[in-house]
Symmetry: C2
Subunit: 384 residues, 2 copies
Amino acid sequence: MTVTTPQGFRSAGIAVGLKSTGKPDLALVVNDGPQHASAAVFTSNRAQANPILWSRKVAQEGPARAIILNSGGANCFTGDFGYETTRLTAAAVAAELNADPEQILVCSTGLIGTGDQAFRDKIVGNVPALAAALSGSDTTAPAAILTTDSVEKTAVHRGDGWTIGAMAKGAGMLAPGLATMLVVITTDALLDDAALDSALRGATATSFDRLDSDGCMSTNDQVTLLASGASGVAPDETEFANALAAVCDSLAAQLQADAEGASHNIDIEVLGAASDSDAIEVGRSVARNNLFKAAIFGNDPNWGRVLAAIGTTEAAFDPYQVDVSFNGVRLCHAGAPDRPVDECDLTPRKTHVRIELFAGEHSATIRTNDLTHDYVHENSAYSS
Amino acid sequence: MTVTTPQGFRSAGIAVGLKSTGKPDLALVVNDGPQHASAAVFTSNRAQANPILWSRKVAQEGPARAIILNSGGANCFTGDFGYETTRLTAAAVAAELNADPEQILVCSTGLIGTGDQAFRDKIVGNVPALAAALSGSDTTAPAAILTTDSVEKTAVHRGDGWTIGAMAKGAGMLAPGLATMLVVITTDALLDDAALDSALRGATATSFDRLDSDGCMSTNDQVTLLASGASGVAPDETEFANALAAVCDSLAAQLQADAEGASHNIDIEVLGAASDSDAIEVGRSVARNNLFKAAIFGNDPNWGRVLAAIGTTEAAFDPYQVDVSFNGVRLCHAGAPDRPVDECDLTPRKTHVRIELFAGEHSATIRTNDLTHDYVHENSAYSS
C-alpha cells in the first residue's frame, strides 16, 4: 500500500497494451473524500504534453476527484487529436465516478509523438476495467506508471493520526523544473488547497528541483498532491510541510538511484555561496558537465573539470580560492592541486563532491548521475 | 606549409616529452615582420589557465612577436608556480628572438592541474632546440598542438597578393566562448591591430562560437591572429574579413569532424527566428541535449527530443507551430507528426536538422556531434 495508505483513497494498475512488454501501463488513484483538496506542480518546459495542458486547468479550477496515469506514450505533440484523447480519458473516468471530466487529472509518459487512435482506444476503452480494479489496499498502481525504471518508487510518512503515501516514476529526462517524473502523493490530513500548495512548492523546490540527472527537461512532468481529509486530523502546517519535504526527498533519492544507465549517484554539495541561487547554479553547472560525468563513470576524480564547469557560471566567487573534495579527500585547495588523486576512491556507487566557494554562508546539494555507456545505449535505442 | 604560407613567418614543432606517447608537443610560430600587428580572443570561462592570464596582457599591450604552444598539460589551476612557468616560457622564447618576454604569447592544452617542475623543465629547457628548428617552410607545428585529435587541422586562403594560413587543435571540451581549441592564424596582409581585431571577432562569432560539440567550455582556449605586413599589400578590410571568416569556418568544420568519439557531424539550422540570438539559443539548446545526441548516435530521428529541448529556451516562438526536418524529411509539422520517421536515413555521418520557428526572419546554424560510447570511453579514461 502506498497511495492508499492514507484513508479515503483507492487505486489500481492494469495492463492495457500500451507497453510492448505487456507490463501494467494504466493507473488510477481516486480520492473518495470527504474532502477533495489538491495541489500540483508541472514541468516548466514550454513544450508541454496534452495531459499537462489539461491537468493545469483541472488543478486550477478543481476539485480534483481522481488522477489517471498511463505509461507507454507521452501524448505530446500529437495535435488536437491528442488533446481530445486526454479529454475523453478524463470523461471516461468521470463517468465511472459520477463526476465531471474537469475534475479528473490526467498524466502520460513515454515517447513524444505517440498518441494515435490505437493509443486512445486502449486507454479510454479500458477505463471501466481499471475502475473495477480499484481497491483501498491496492499495490498494483506504482508498477503501472514506470517506463525505463527498474524498480517501483514509493514512500510513506505516518504522522500523529494522519499519513502521507506516494508513488513516483523517473528514469530518464531527469532535470528540473522537474524531472521526467510523474509523482502522486496522497494524504488523509485535513488541509485546504492553499496549505497543500505552499507545502508542495516548498517540498519540490528542495527535492525534485535539485535532481538533475541528465540536464534534459521533460514535457510531461507532474507532481500531484491529493488530500481526502478522511483522518479528520488537521496537522500543524509546518509539521506537514516538513513531512512532505521528507517524502519528496526520499522519492528524489530513489529517482537518482535508478536513473537510466547510471553507475554512480553523485551528490554535489556546494558550500560557502553568496546566495542559495548561486549554490544551485554552481552545483547544476557541474551536474550538467558531460566531461565531469564521464570522468566519474571512469572512477577518475577529475577536479579540473569541476573548476572548468563552475567557471562558466555567474555566481559570486573567486575560482582561484575554491576547494574541491571528492569522497572526503580535498584534491584542490585555493585553486591548486592538494592531496594526490590516488588517495580518492570512486568505486562506491555513492559519490560526494564538495565544493567550497568561500563567498558566503549559503549552500545547496544537487543530485546527479554519471555519464555511462549504458546511458548512451538506452537512449540511442529507446524508440526502436 | 600552413602558418608559414604567408610571408614573414617561421614555425617549428618538436617532441619534448610532455606527451606520454612521445609525439610532438611543443610548437613555436614567429612573426619576423616587418609589422607585428595582432589580435586574439580568449575563452570566456572565468576559470582560466595561466597562459590565458599571461597572453591576455601580451595581446592588450603588444606587439606580439611570437606564440609558443604546448600540448600535454594545461597549466591551469597550478597556482603561482604555474604562472611563473608561463612567464619563464615567454622569457626563454624572448631570449632567442632578442625580444621582451611581454611580447611572447603562450598557449597550453591538456589535463587541468598539470604543470609541475618536470613540465616546466621540459618546456623551458627545450626552447633553444625549438628555436633552432624554426623554418619558413615548416610543416611540423600543426602536429605539436594536437591532443586527442586524430588529424591535423589547417587552412589557407590566397588573396590578391596576400595570404592567410592557419592551424588548429580541437577534439574535446568543445563549446563556445570558444572550444578547447587553440588556433593560430597568420597573414602577410598589411593591416593594423584594430582591423585585425574587428575581423577576428566577426569571424569567430560565426564559426568557433557556433560550434558546440559537448557543451563543455574550456579553460585554455585562445584564437590568435598575427600579421606581418610582409606582402606590402593592404587588402580591402571587408574582403579580408570575409576571407578570415571562411578560414575560421573551415577550421570549425574540421574540429566538428574530428570531435572526440563522434560518429555524426550534426548541423542544426534554425530558421524563422525573431533574432539572431534567439536562433543561436534554440540551436544550442538542441546541441546540448544529451537525449537528442544519443538518439542521433542510434540513427533515431527523435524529433520529440528536439521540441523538448527548444521548449526550455526563452526564444520567441510557439512550440505548437514549429516544423522539424531531419536530413530533408519533415517529420514534425506545426507541432505534430508529419512524415513517417522511417523515411529518414541517419546513417550518413553528416546530419542536418532544420528547425523552422515561424517567428521572424533570422537564422543560425550550430554545429555539434552525437553522444557515443566512444565519447564516454575517451573522457572516462582521459587522465589515466
